[in-house]
Symmetry: C2
Subunit: 334 residues, 2 copies
Amino acid sequence: MREVARRANVSVATVSRALRSPGQVSSATIQKVRSAAEDLGYVYNVTASDILKGRSTVVGLVVPTSSSTLFGETIHGVQDVTAETGFSVIQGATRYDAVTEEALIDSLLERHVHALILTGMTYANEDRIRRLARDGWTRVVVVWEKPGSDPGISYVGIDNRSAAERMTEHLIALGHRRIGLIVGPYSRQARVRHRLEGYRDALEKAGIAFDPDIVMERRPDLLEGREAMDSLMGMEVRPTAVFAASDLLAIGALKAARLRGLSVPGDVSIAGFDDMNFGAYQDPPITTVRVEAYRIGQLAGQIAVEPIGTPERSYCLDCDLVIRSSTGPIKTTP
Amino acid sequence: MREVARRANVSVATVSRALRSPGQVSSATIQKVRSAAEDLGYVYNVTASDILKGRSTVVGLVVPTSSSTLFGETIHGVQDVTAETGFSVIQGATRYDAVTEEALIDSLLERHVHALILTGMTYANEDRIRRLARDGWTRVVVVWEKPGSDPGISYVGIDNRSAAERMTEHLIALGHRRIGLIVGPYSRQARVRHRLEGYRDALEKAGIAFDPDIVMERRPDLLEGREAMDSLMGMEVRPTAVFAASDLLAIGALKAARLRGLSVPGDVSIAGFDDMNFGAYQDPPITTVRVEAYRIGQLAGQIAVEPIGTPERSYCLDCDLVIRSSTGPIKTTP
DNA sequence: CTGTTAGCGCTTTCAT
DNA sequence: ATGAAAGCGCTAACAG
């Protein structure tokens, strides 16, 4: 910038003004400055400006994994909104690991991010985040989970418990009473735990005993879904329906059923969660819970870029069941 | 930091040293400083340090879309490597749009990123990038494409042309002579154009005339694949095999075939590209080209974090055909 | 309209 | 081992 000033025969302050607030400068000077900048290949430095203004125009985004079409939509939502307002997004993946998550959050904080958007926060780091939020150090948005009540923490998510309950009810309504569940590691994530609770709620209402043997706790990916389903289908009294609390798990489960020569939904019904784009392209198309992932990202982004000190704000989005062909009535033994 | 200094009764310089280069400070002082920092909830500011040192510890990563399991793997690779070396990744998606890409690159440059990792650079922005790279302004890594020869630009990718040629040869070897192609927008992306060229190479070698009518140029997603396949299958003389230059397109195509009651590979063979994790979970599992997306990301990350001025370095990874069940011999009309 | 000056949070000489 | 002071690239307040 000093170089530019010298070349244009003006002070650095004028350069700054010419480039950033052209209203205060004569158009002749603006031209001079612009062309000097052009000649020198000058590129403005937002970072320096941030430092001086004691602010930050970066938001940190923490996701479990970057390679999911689902979180991907949320990421898009966040990026679109933040880009409009001149913010950049530093993104990192935890791989469902608390230690990685902590390291990630640390590095984000050291960059003094304006906001932290957290997907699937593990219990391990909750206290720390709460303290940060309470002190107004950064804005904190927790995403994908039903609103809680922590001062300074905003939530954008869905009611996982209710959605899981409704899907389980759907299966019960089809006549199923032995319903397997494949679910993420619920001991660590609220989101997942709530899905388990919803499942149990529905069973209880229908007077079906909860059987821990047919609940599989797995990392949400294709292979784990397949393996879990295989165990389930290998049981002496096997479930007639399986609720996979993620479409990834459901697609894996579908594969396992196919390999065992079981027809879906003839022999066993399979339901998923999330409505990932692939779900409708499976054979049969998968019954699932629609989640507006992009919208969640947008809202999270909007909240994130608000000035520090703006009160927390929470949204709980509705999510509908999408009944496709992977679930059907229980087979009546002839 | 000044606060910490005051509370610990030392100068800011000492605080800086105590926290960042403990070797130069007495352990008593370190303790004092540490506890003062703790009490005040002090968090180090990397950004300020970057400014002062005239460097940047951020790399910019540009991808076509964030919601792809494939680019997701590349992102993971980059993140894992950069995290180890204290870099953060600012990531943005172009959505296959040149204008968005340009805006994104601008914002990255204004943050004075240490390096720019570009996936699927469009022609529109090539000149600009080349100039940047030549001037040593940032490190530039172009990813997913076969190495070219531009001073200052590193490449990490695959030989798209050769891979596409081999897949087409595979189909030809199965007896197919009328082979449809569904491919991304090749007018704008080198990666995609090379796949088209590979396809043509193979046809030519086999003495098959190139027929532009059975080449569909589509955005790589499920729906477009489905629609393109539907057009192809609606033709009077329809192709007996279709090469979809992305697994996303292939899965969409599979759906279209299924809806038309065509058996795969009985009535029509379908091949994909990329080896996305979903491919093996389709029915039938999809024949495809394996691409080591994570490895590509790692290499790109390694090159990116090297000091400015380090010579460019390029890698062209091998990629094997993965023959699954979606391709088979041509049906001999009885 | 434009220049001068001070200073953001940090690190690095250079003294002490 | 510690402190004082200068300075990274930028902007805001104050003069002129």
